[in-house]
């Protein structure tokens, strides 16, 4: 999995929790590279899972909550890191609708071997339905990201995001976004 996920996770913990917690998380996770991730690298996603595991022990909060929080925070960071992907959008829905095209295309351009999640956005009447499926269990992060994008555009009171109960995570999810 792309290094940015790892490096941003550490940064999130450092900024939103504390550097000490981050340090404890890293040390406790027993990482092979001792937490020195570069955003342009590629690392096994199990290490992220290990870090999450440590975090949940340290904070006492469930993993899925932590992932959602991370995803929410990550949305803003993605916009800062990759302005070319987000330029031109003024509405969260339009962005979300294009997510599968842009996101995975951009990743695969640079990393042809990347196994990106399958993200499909479709319009169902008034709703936008985004289905997420991956071999990695980060559906909650994706949930958080969706919320995060909406918040970034300042449209949190315009759009409601609900999660389809019949699609159990964390490898798959269905997000239904409708106007509030």
């Amino acid at each position: 999995m792309k290094g940015v996920i790892f490096s941003e996770m550490i940064r999130w913990v450092e900024e939103c929790l504390s550097p000490a917690v981050a340090d404890r998380m890293i040390v406790g996770a027993n990482l092979p590279n001792e937490g020195s991730y570069t955003s342009v690298g590629n690392y096994p996603h199990q290490e992220a899972l290990a870090m999450m595991g440590q975090l949940t022990q340290i904070t006492g909060r469930p993993v899925h909550e932590l992932c959602q929080d991370y995803g929410y925070w990550l949305a803003t960071r993605f916009v800062e890191l990759y302005p070319q992907m987000f330029g031109g959008y003024t509405d969260a829905l339009s962005l979300l609708r294009d997510i599968d095209n842009k996101h995975n295309t951009e990743v695969v351009k640079l990393y042809p071997d990347a196994r990106t999640p399958a993200i499909i956005a479709s319009v169902d009447g008034e709703d936008l339905v985004i289905s997420y499926a991956s071999h990695r269990p980060f559906a909650d992060v994706a949930f958080g990201l969706v919320h995060g994008y909406i918040a970034y555009f300042g449209q949190s009171d315009q759009y409601m995001v609900s999660r389809d109960e019949d699609t159990p995570g964390p490898h798959a999810a269905r997000f239904i976004i409708n106007r509030a």
């Binding site: 001792e34 020195s36 570069t38």
Partner: protein, 633 residues
């Protein structure tokens, strides 16, 4: 010095450791990032190199293609000019430069470069053409509508490639130029507005072709074609004239023949009278001189008769109306009649006439009965013998007859006359040919041999002449296919069909028939029908007998020598007294209305066909003898 445990220091220490670890992490990340960067840079550099190489390759291919195109242009005689609408610049291909007589001029930016080249008459239209094309190109560029460029309105290059009129697309213009050196050329320009798919430029693409030769050839071809048309018309006119002339000639010829035949017909009637009277002439009480005189008159009148018959027959033959009517014929009897007659005539002239039979193939006997048209055969013999006598002053005439093989008979007439020069022999047999021989003093119309030839041809035989093998004179010969037939039998008749007159008497029938066979048959049949029969050989005898009365019905053969059935009928009808009304039935092989009309017109009541069938004979006679009784069907 022992340091006391100070919690603030412990925290600081912990924090320092934390920060140290963090720093270490950051440095390690950076190092890794740099290493990755190195890697990536290397990959990028390689990719660049590859890209550059590809581009070089493509460029060289492009160059090669461009060169090939130029070569092809040269081979095909095409030159190209490409005008870039935006940059207002045109490029001339090598061959275009050659065609225009402007070698080395690769590019131009104004049309005025071509002014001096163009024929003054074409200059303005060339400018107009160029203006039109450029306007079109500009419109395309302005509206961004590629469809404006295509006469068919195709919106993309693909549709254009698939268009069936692709090769003829473009505005065409022909212009005359003087490239110099006294050369005059006509160039065909074909212009298209072209938008290369990826360049976003608008170009006017022009092909130039030298069509001087093509046009000249077309002109020449047209001239030739017109000349041919003219010739054709002349030929047709000529043919038409010829045809008209031919028709006129044919008509004139036919008219002449018809006239001749008509005249002969008219002459024939009194002729028959003369001959008839001569036949009846009893020369018993005449002196020798008188008998000889009568003999000459007889011979002359015979010749006249033959001549008249020949003219009429020749005309009929020409019109294709001569038909053979073969019937059983007894050869010995025929020869006796025919040769016998002419022997007498020959004797009166002091010539000997002899008949030799079976001479050609010894041992092969002449057949008894053959199937032939007696009348025509007689005509053939009469002509040849009469000629022989005519052209022989003194000496003899030999007739030789025999079979030359199975189914072929040969008949020769050898005279000791003056002979016929070899050069003239062929003329003899032509219609209306004439043979004037010195020293003979008997010029004839020369018809006899012509009619002989016609008859022989109809019979499927050959006729010819050569010299007398034994001395002076000629040998005329005829070869005919003959087939032996069994002698005619009387048919077995079912039952009896007796005829009787209205008053119950046995009918007395007069049969006028020249052929012995037919006389026998008629006698037999009439006997079966319960009639008494009297037989005569010709029309004259029939008239004489009918005039005496006592005849209930006459069966009159149409074609008889001396006097035919038609004349006899007419004469009977002209008799004074009740005998004129005697019923007459024509006997004839011909049954077409036009053939029977003559005899019916002069008074015959009906017709019985030959060969005679007893049923038909009975039916026809019964109707006449017993009008109240109907025939059985």
């Amino acid at each position: 010095m022992a340091v006391a445990f100070d919690p603030r220091i412990a925290n600081l220490e912990a924090e320092v450791e934390l920060l140290t670890r963090r720093l270490a992490r950051a440095e390690r990340s950076r190092a890794e990032a740099e290493a990755l960067l190195e890697d990536k840079s290397r990959v990028l550099a390689n990719a660049n190199r590859e890209l550059r190489a590809n581009r070089e390759e493509l460029r060289s291919q492009l160059d090669q293609r461009a060169r090939q195109l130029l070569d092809a242009q040269q081979v095909a005689g095409f030159g190209t000019i490409v005008w870039d609408v935006e940059r207002r610049m045109g490029e001339l291909s090598a061959h275009a430069q050659t065609l225009l007589g402007m070698p080395g001029v690769d590019a131009f930016d104004s049309l005025s470069i071509f002014d001096g080249l163009t024929d003054p008459e074409d200059r303005q239209s060339l400018r107009d053409y160029a203006t039109h094309m450029i306007k079109r190109a500009v419109a395309v560029r302005a509206h961004g509508q590629r469809a404006l460029a295509c006469p068919k309105g195709h919106a993309d290059n693909q549709s254009c490639s698939a268009c069936p009129e692709r090769d003829d697309c473009g505005d065409v213009f022909e212009v005359r130029i003087n490239p110099g050196g006294g050369v005059r050329r006509t160039l065909r320009l074909r212009a298209q507005v072209h938008i290369p798919a990826d360049l976003g430029k608008v170009l006017v693409f022009l092909t130039i072709q030298d069509v001087t030769a093509e046009l000249a050839a077309a002109r020449e071809a047209e001239e030739l074609r017109q000349r041919d048309q003219q010739r054709l018309a002349e030929l047709e006119s000529l043919t038409h004239d010829l045809e008209q002339a031919r028709l006129a000639a044919e008509q004139a010829n036919a008219a002449k023949s018809r006239f001749l035949a008509m005249m002969s017909h008219d002459i024939r009637t009194p002729m028959n009278g003369v001959i008839g009277m001569l036949q009846l002439f009893d020369d018993a009480g005449l002196s020798d001189d008188q008998r000889r005189t009568i003999g000459h008159v007889r011979a002359s009148s015979e010749q006249l008769r033959i001549l008249l018959d020949d003219i009429i027959d020749l005309e009929r033959a020409e019109a294709g109306k001569l038909i053979l009517n073969p019937q059983p014929l007894n050869l010995a009897e025929f020869l006796r009649d025919a040769v016998g007659f002419w022997q007498k005539v020959a004797a009166e002239k002091g010539l000997a006439m002899t008949l030799e039979r079976g001479v050609f193939l010894p041992g092969q006997k002449l057949v008894d009965w053959i199937s032939a048209d007696r009348y025509r055969l007689r005509q053939l013999v009469d002509n040849m013998l009469s000629n022989a006598i005519k052209y022989t002053r003194a000496g003899s005439i030999r007739i030789r007859l025999g079979m030359t093989g199975a189914g072929t008979a040969r008949y020769e007439v050898i005279d000791t006359g003056i002979g016929i020069p070899e050069a003239r022999r062929r003329e003899l047999f032509q219609d209306f040919g004439q043979l004037r021989l010195d020293g003979v003093g008997e010029a004839g119309a020369g018809l006899g041999l012509a009619i002989c030839r016609r008859i022989v041809e109809l019979m499927g035989g050959l006729i010819g002449v050569d010299g007398n093998p034994d001395g002076p004179g000629s040998r005329f010969w005829v070869e005919l296919p003959i087939a032996e037939v069994p002698p005619p039998q009387l048919k077995d008749l079912p039952g009896t069909l007796l005829l009787a007159c209205a008053d119950g008497r046995r009918p007395r029938i007069l049969v006028a028939e020249d052929v012995e066979t037919n006389r026998i048959v008629a006698r037999g049949l009439l006997g079966r029908l319960g009639c008494d029969v009297e037989l005569v050989n010709d029309g004259a005898a029939a008239v004489q007998r009918a005039a005496s009365g006592g005849i209930d019905l006459v069966l009159m053969d149409v074609s008889m020598p001396v006097m035919g059935g038609i004349e006899a009928t007419r004469q009977i009808r002209a008799l004074p007294g009740p005998e004129a009304a005697v019923p007459i039935l024509a006997l004839s092989a011909y049954s077409r209305p036009e053939d029977l009309e003559p005899i019916l017109t002069v008074g015959a009541l009906g017709h019985v066909g030959k060969p005679i069938r007893i049923e038909e004979l009975h039916g026809a006679m019964a109707r006449i003898l017993q009008p109240a009784v109907s025939d059985d069907a």
